[in-house]
């Protein structure tokens, strides 16, 4: 079987998850590579969650939240923005491509925007190839 990128998506409950839901109910065609995890706010996404996703075999991680100014908890998404910018820099210094992590904003009415982000991310990660973590032998050797 050919390799398919695995992407873990952390979607905020109030906007992005509903945006994804809308894409589904409207039967929009969307690449099936994103595994969705619903969080109450993009601000809930601690960098460790993203690292853990990579450790468990993700090739990319997508974080989606409400547009700036729209966060249900006022400023959760601004905090995420800072955290993610820094995390991407950190990963780049350590040799992990920045494009494997993406933060974007999707509102409840933007099903089409959700689809375009997912498709775009899938292709970018496909181009990068699998994220190689420790092979079993390296880990227990």
């Amino acid at each position: 079987m050919s390799w398919e990128p695995k992407i873990v998506g952390f979607l905020c409950n109030w906007c992005s998850y509903r945006g994804a839901d809308l894409a589904g109910t409207a039967r929009m065609k969307c690449s099936p590579n994103v595994r969705t995890i619903r969080v109450m706010c993009s601000g809930r996404v601690e960098p460790t969650f993203i690292l853990k996703a990579f450790q468990l075999g993700a090739d990319g991680v997508l974080v989606l939240g409400c547009h700036p100014g729209d966060c249900h908890y006022t400023e959760g998404n601004y905090k995420t923005l800072r955290r993610m910018s820094l995390l991407k820099k950190m990963l780049a210094q350590l040799g992990v491509e920045e494009e494997r992590v993406r933060l974007d904003w999707v509102s409840a009415s933007e099903g089409d925007h959700f689809v375009s982000i997912v498709n775009d991310m899938t292709e970018k990660v496909r181009a990068l190839g699998p994220f190689r973590q420790n092979s079993e032998e390296e880990k227990h050797g």
Binding site: Y78, R82, L86, Q93
Partner: protein, 277 residues
């Protein structure tokens, strides 16, 4: 130098500027942090580049100064601090670990040899009271070498480095900025215990992601590491990134809000970031 420090400590205590002085003391050939309240004991006060007063004590995982301040909130403590220690105190205060209003910093400058030994860029505190400022070490060949590497070379470099890690937690324990009671590096959900080498990208990565914005490049982690992983080099690289991204330098200015602690109102985000990253 130590003579001048002892004299000044005596003066501060006698003039009641502070109730106690926190410094190192030598006893039976060993150095340990000590709270001097009695001027007669000042003869045993020492300084060293090997110990930081900003250390977090184990296993209670509390900063010594913050522990003292919690137990004795009204005591005014004078603290003998080098540049890195002062920076640590500033970052700790920003995170409500200590109360700088209740401390008086006796800043001492490091010598040129000490600065070179620590590869320190800023070997003096802001509150310089004793000693002569010397130039910091601005060039670090390890940093330059990594900056010139491609992303795949970097991955190879760090994979090799991290494969040496024996999960001794020395870097975390030595770091003045690691003070959480519940460390994710100890939790089974995030770190597979009992296996070597640590998984990539977990274990050390957890610390990097939590610490880099507040790292005050004291180099304690690198010195603590028994297998010589160039941890300080990584933090120096990240420090450049943080300066670019948030225009922020840890430990420099008490009034500057730490980027990960602030929200929109307190520190505007760069425009280009607002459209997702």
């Amino acid at each position: 130098m130590i003579g001048n420090i002892r004299d000044l400590a005596r003066k501060w205590l006698e003039d009641k500027e502070v109730d106690a002085i926190f410094a190192l003391r030598e006893q039976n050939g060993y150095l340990a942090p000590y709270l001097f309240t009695n001027v007669d004991k000042l003869g045993s006060m020492e300084i060293s580049t090997q110990y930081r007063l900003s250390y977090t004590c184990r296993p209670s995982k509390e900063n010594i100064l913050s522990l003292m301040q919690r137990k004795e909130p009204s005591t005014r403590i004078g603290i003998v601090a080098r540049g890195c220690e002062e920076r640590a105190l500033i970052e700790l205060a920003k995170r409500s670990q200590i109360d700088l209003g209740k401390t008086k910093i006796m800043g001492i400058a490091c010598t040129q040899e000490e600065a070179i030994e620590c590869k320190c860029e800023r070997p003096y505190p802001d509150n310089l009271v004793l000693g002569q400022k010397v130039e910091g070490v601005s060039q670090d060949e390890n940093v330059d070498a990594l900056l010139n590497k491609s992303i795949t070379e970097r991955l190879a470099f760090w994979r090799y480095q991290f494969s040496k890690c024996i999960k001794c937690y020395g870097c975390r324990n030595a770091c003045p900025m690691c003070f959480c009671k519940d460390c994710k590096m100890e939790q089974g959900v995030f770190t597979e215990t009992g296996w070597l080498p640590p998984e990539i990208p977990m274990f050390l990565f957890i610390r990097f992601s939590h610490i880099s914005e507040r790292c005050i490049w004291c180099g304690e982690c690198e010195k603590a590491c028994p297998v010589d992983i160039p941890l300080l080099t990584l933090f120096k690289l990240l420090r450049r990134d943080i300066k670019d991204l948030f225009d922020y330098e840890a430990g420099m200015d008490m009034t500057q809000e730490a980027p990960l602690l602030t929200t929109l109102d307190e520190m505007p985000m760069k425009e280009e970031l607002a459209s997702g990253i």
